[in-house]
Symmetry: D2
Subunit: 286 residues, 4 copies
């Protein structure tokens, strides 16, 4: 069998009859073999959301003609839609500060073939993690952030991102808040890991907040970044049990494992085009 | 909007192109609104498995004509298939011995509307739980089992089941092993809860086995009953953490919660026609 | 061996050397056999907290002399302390509204011997659950609550509780907020189950809030009731995974299982005298 | 406050009165401040097991005299006991084959201060992971194993371990079975990670076994190595949910996360002297 790429359609529209049938039929009519098809109807919102993935091997349309061919049907059905190809790997930048655990985790998972990303650039407000970048052969740029220079530095960062055609940003415990303007220019393309079970303990030092409140579980949340701090659409969450024996340092230690797992799970779902954002929520087609 | 029932198709066949499209098209052509469609391809087995559910409200075929109408397509595609209607509730019998926890759990969930079952009959080898049956208004029959009378009693039980047209049997901690003949006459229609994480600790007294092995988690497994003891297709499993502090009695106590949850989850999936058995495995379309 | 009761000491004091030794020595000197001894040092608060349980069988002090005998040591060590006996079962009242699941769960666990409580009274603002009370042989009293009559009704409720010497109140999905005065007269003796992972989604309709926020896990929290709504010391918490497929009704259904488990776990810990409150937190000596 | 080490006693003996008191009193009499004291009574085995940790700062006995000073009491009480000091870090060897995930995880946790170990040597039957060893500055030795040369190579390995005074061996997905003789010379000092929820799926290729059985959870187990394959005392276990969608490769991927977490948790407990082995079970004093 010829190794081949897959095409993936992510779509949403007001719900109506025949959507699954018509979309499936489009693929079948062009000799496509559907590998995964999943949809969801949000009854409250009256919204239809669908993901379909098919093998391009044997598909009668060349990949650069699919867009044009699908457009009439999409228009008829009133679809918001995006077409992806599994072998088009987005160029990504990872933003870090001083913590290495999420960074290492992403780089090792990538090397193990778990993440369909192309980590092209590491950006940090500190020089500390440069040697990790180097040992994995990734460019590392430092942009120190102060209150006064924040806007100016973000302009420089955006410039570097644009030059390299970066499409996706992963905040792997980046300890700076991005400006509204920056965030909006990467809508649904900045993934953050917050070290709490949101919406509990948004903002700074959530482990300290958790310790003081005396919760019996701590969490981590990966979400798309929006202008509202820690308020964006949630992609993945998990928790771990803690007891009175756990000091604040133990929460940080246990939390590191959660942060790694949750960020990796969210990023993998994004990279496999399994995530659809609508309103302030996500559908994750696993 | 008229309250209405749904139709559900569960299908499997050798994998080939166009299955999703052709099946969806059949429903759409007859004005059906697909509510859920989910499929799975087992690449190793080369098998396609699908579940599709649509609203009968507005569907152009009367429900008793769907079978005939779908048959030609099913034959063309080589499908094994079953058609269900969400308002056809199967008559079910619950088999119990002396433990009340799973029984109570099922009856209360049923009353809360969680289980689309019709619990018509309680069968036990002991009289102990009769009062529970009575308080829920369900018939209770006692068939004491001894080694010598087992076969004879099973014949009588089957007779009662047949008279009442029982389609589904739930073993809610029934402490007897059914004979091969009995099991085979209810293929994939007997659901058991075993109080271990199968395949670990099959057979008698799994909590004692778990205690002696010193495991750090105990489990429960709900599965279809086959002739091989505790070897049938698994529908649901879960575990709970235990420590050295847990005595054998604590394992039993903690295990009760697991048994209730896992049996209820498996039964609910079965009743919602989400479970497809193939080989000795299940697909659960949640 | 004579079946016998145990004594349990729950203590806290500023941390200093020799606390474990001196307390253990007191028990040993009087021929007590320590069954469980557990302590915790909160380094930030400089606080020592301890639970010790010993067999009264063979103990040289009669149980009504232990208090006097221990007092000099307790004074020397600056202990806050309480002495309990495992066979002194507190009289308890369960408050409910219309939901039956937590109530049934508690009553069945009690019958199975899991909860060392004496459920003497059921209080509700609705008549709906009276038949459950009756089938378990427990008195059921209805006190309808309106804004105007709240204070007056609470006075009448307290009167009934006092007459029966109720020591512990369990709010098993009681849908009324108790007044500050009521709460303060039962300090650390009212246990509530809140259907969210606190501090997320405090207040009304947490499942709706969770649905709207798009979280990927829902939770339940059992805590002692204080004047601040949903702000009291947390005893137990747990979560369950949800997806976009779960409707608000599914969250309610899944949440019921959580509520039952978490309330039962917290209540059991309280009844076994495993919970020590300090500040707004708990130590649970499991 | 002077930074100081702690002393830890791990003990077991037939259960009798006064054990906690007498042991605590020994520490207190010598001006020790108990930080943690935890014990367990296995009622079936009639066995008392205890762990006590105290601050050496201010303790009146020099550390090299504690052994002699405690011995008379230990003899009187019939204790099996071991004394440890928190600043005596055991020299450890990690055995690997070709998988890097557990190795990297251990090395990074060590660098983050999570593991009180001294990783002195990496031993492998393959050269593949040499560069990781070098980047962390650890010696790497290759001993290719064939059926014929196994015994001979183990002799050479033991020689290298002895030369370096290695006290602890961690099998981080080492794909060779050690001989009985080797195992017995490191009793309770070889920690393995097995990629299943033991006792289910012992032996080779557990993910394949799990896939074929159709389980709904996969697990990992960390245990001390004994002569019986995958039969030694279990230290830690955990599981993760899988579905029919997970291919054998997905099980391997998900399992990697489990293996890392479970091995690290077990190793940390061992290094903090929290694990007591008795019979074929462990007590883990967390």
């Amino acid at each position: 069998m010829t190794s081949s790429a897959n095409a993936i359609l992510l779509m949403s529209s007001p719900d109506r009859k025949g959507l699954v049938a018509k979309i499936s039929e489009f693929i079948y009519r062009n000799d496509g073999n559907i590998l995964h098809a999943d949809h969801h109807i949000d009854e409250e919102a009256g919204l239809f959301l669908m993901r379909v993935e098919w093998d391009l091997n044997g598909f009668s349309l060349p990949r650069d003609e699919i867009h044009v061919a699908f457009n009439p049907l999409a228009r008829e059905l009133g679809l918001n839609w995006n077409l992806f190809f599994s072998d088009q790997i987005p160029k990504s930048a990872i933003f870090v500060s001083k913590y290495e655990h999420c960074l290492y985790d992403l780089l090792l998972r990538h090397r193990a073939g778990e993440l369909r990303a192309n980590f092209s650039l590491l950006i940090s407000n500190h020089p500390d993690l440069r040697s990790i970048a180097e040992s994995f052969g990734i460019e590392y740029m430092v942009f120190p952030i102060t209150k006064e220079r924040k806007f100016e530095q973000e302009v420089r960062i955006r410039n570097e991102l644009n030059k390299r055609e970066i499409e996706l940003i992963i905040l792997a415990r980046y300890m700076q808040i991005l400006t509204k303007g920056f965030v909006e220019s990467f809508q649904n393309r900045i993934i953050n890991i917050h070290h709490s079970f949101l919406p509990a303990f948004a903002g700074p030092d959530p482990y300290r907040q958790a310790y003081q409140r005396g919760v019996k579980l701590i969490g981590a949340t990966s979400h798309y970044v929006t202008a509202g701090l820690d308020k964006g659409p949630i992609i993945a969450q998990d928790v771990i049990r803690v007891t009175h024996r756990d000091s604040p340092d133990d929460l940080i230690r246990k939390g590191r494992d959660l942060e790694k797992l949750v960020l990796a799970r969210a990023l993998r779902a994004h990279l496999d085009h399994q995530v659809l954002v609508y309103g302030n929520k996500t559908v994750v087609f696993e």
